[in-house]
Symmetry: D2
């Protein structure tokens, strides 16, 4: 097996959540030195503290996830749920970028991969707050991605949906007829992705095989969003 991240220091945030475990595992298989961070990043100084602690990194995997609160109509989304979305997924993203970009710009090399959501590029009922925060991530990386390209730092985002994870697609939910109908009608590929498949895409975006990608939010959703 070839190892595509040999000698790379990689920071993975929320490493126990969402796409964290699969990413840590796959990236280690590929020779990366993975710094798996489990901090809660909502605290304003948390992001910079993590980066200070780990020092120089070649690759940041911004894995930020909050519950999607599926099925709540927008006008019923209360302040608490609303702010959690931004506090967990949006503000820490900027703080992480603030902390890692200067060192990457200085070395003129670096990669950032963001695990985001296809709900940030395609409308879906019942997830207004979540979609809004995920779209904020995309608007952000499209802009910063262009700035970073000039320093040979590539920033891209996986706009995913229908990837196996207990938070959004519990085993229980997968057994409902509602879920089966979604798979049949809305997801051309007719199945969930495994977390490992998703991590393989992150690997591509983190490796030097994707140096020409700049500030892109790329759908990973089995055809739900194209």
């Amino acid at each position: 097996m070839d190892k595509r991240l040999v000698g790379k220091r990689v920071l993975v945030t929320q490493s126990k959540d969402y796409m964290g475990p699969a990413t840590v595992e796959l990236f280690r298989e590929h020779g990366a030195y993975v710094l798996a961070d489990e901090s809660d990043l909502r605290e304003s100084s948390a992001a910079s503290a993590v980066v200070d602690k780990v020092g120089d990194i070649d690759i940041l995997v911004a894995n930020l996830a909050a519950p999607a609160n599926l099925g709540t109509m927008a006008h019923d989304i209360d302040e608490d749920v609303w702010f959690t979305m931004f506090d967990v997924m949006v503000h820490p993203l900027h703080r992480l970028f603030r902390a890692v970009l200067p060192q990457m710009y200085k070395r003129r090399e670096g990669k950032i991969v963001v695990y985001g959501s296809a709900t940030g590029i395609k409308g879906l009922e019942g997830v207004a707050a979540y979609s809004s925060a995920r779209a904020a991530q995309i608007g952000y990386i499209r802009s910063v991605g262009r700035e970073a390209a000039r320093y040979n730092v590539q920033i891209n985002l996986i706009a995913q949906n229908f990837v196996e994870n207990e938070d959004y697609f519990s085993t229980e939910f997968q057994e409902t007829s509602y879920f089966k109908e979604i798979m049949e009608k809305d997801v051309p590929i007719g199945r969930l992705a495994t977390a490992r498949e998703d991590a393989l895409f992150a690997l591509f975006l983190a490796s030097n095989e994707s140096d020409f990608f700049v500030g892109q939010a790329i759908a990973f959703s089995g055809g739900w969003a194209q």
Copy 2:
């Protein structure tokens, strides 16, 4: 002249800023009863207070604007600038929606027009925080717009750029060679839109001539974004 908003009660927020004045003027010419609100909506109870005060409205024009802080690299955007974007343009949007949607859903009729930004759909360097907040608006209305359609309430967003306004395009800035080069190279139409032209698009989206538009962010940028 035909009047396309006769009998309509319209709430325009931040009525002295951004697209407020042009909107108030044009909508009044079209027979609307315009409630021009000048409140600062950053306070968490401000949005609902405004809606409580004005009572039932047929049309909400969500005109929310903060300085774009053009030209700051993302890693130099401090917490203060960052949060201002969301405090002014994103959180009040949700609060306004929370306040007006129930009455619109009950009557099964209503329109919301959001003055947003094309930087929410197309990457631009030097405006990462602004772009992120504007993208958050778009992710939000794409989701809520779908929910609202089922209640005969239409929500759409003007993804604008290059519209005359003193905040973003001062007379001084318009005289720089930098501005002229942008017009020549990046804006096919080669000029700024007038605020009135923009308000005419808002009028279309607010009138019953656009009942089939659902949760759309439509570019209004002279060809910069298409």
Copy 3:
């Protein structure tokens, strides 16, 4: 009633088909002098012959429609169906543009509105040939639209779906449970647009109220595509 096209000479192609009748009617109500052409435009000289005959026009409504052949898998689409799509919807579009743009550029004024399809911006199974031809229209107007903007000629396209017309949504089809399920699941607004609603959007794009729109393909589909 205000008339928004007074003094305008408008050419509407395939005037008896698709959106032709509703457009001719509405545009005439708005004071336009409408040249309703019924020619088959597949013949290579047909487009220029029509424009030669009518002389100067202010507005071209490119209404080009072929059967969608809904439900045929791509590998079963034969040469005949395939070429019909391009012969009816794509090649005549270019020929019409070749015929009208020089006069519009000379006068530095003009509008072109293309009735296109949302299948050109969003994937849909069973309509590969049709989608391909409709996407070709969109790729075309995005490019030409930018060129034309410099001459004060605005070219835009209505990326529609779910608009009443006997060809694509026969009364019979509308009564099937399949159709009703589509309306319920895939079309947030839950109904077809009337042809008149669609023509109202064309009116907006043909009038001087939309001078800042450049080469855009705008969804008109009740939320199916956003």
Copy 4:
């Protein structure tokens, strides 16, 4: 080195043109058995003849290229240039798909990678015919890609621009100040991609590391299109 295409039979069309040589070389390094075809595919029976000759294939790389004819205004594009675009890039695509999809559907496995263009997703002046044909490819694969997903066949397209190749970016052109200005202003990454970088993306889309991608046109343009 790991080999990601061991045991795969790959057909690469126009193997001496555009991205052909780099693809053939890289895919062979990865263990593929590459059938490098040089046929002119404009003839209506050419595509099926090629597929008949090579028999079963696991992967089709649809590499179809015609001169972009950069810099011609739309109304000056003659019939000959116009039809060449569709005859070279669009009609053969459908014929190739017709020829290979049945065998892939039967085996319930297969990959198709199309080398397309970012001008099919983003407007650019002076390339209307080329853009139209490239957009036609995209509209096509978005539709067929969804159909094919149900048979475990993945079809995706590289929407590229600014990739080294003598046809579009000759050494001579690269030395002009016009080219240098484009790199500086319009391409955030500030350089052309090598053909090998592009082939690496094709490798990703051709390998089993991208099984969850369905009918997508993904920008590969150094940030020009995002």
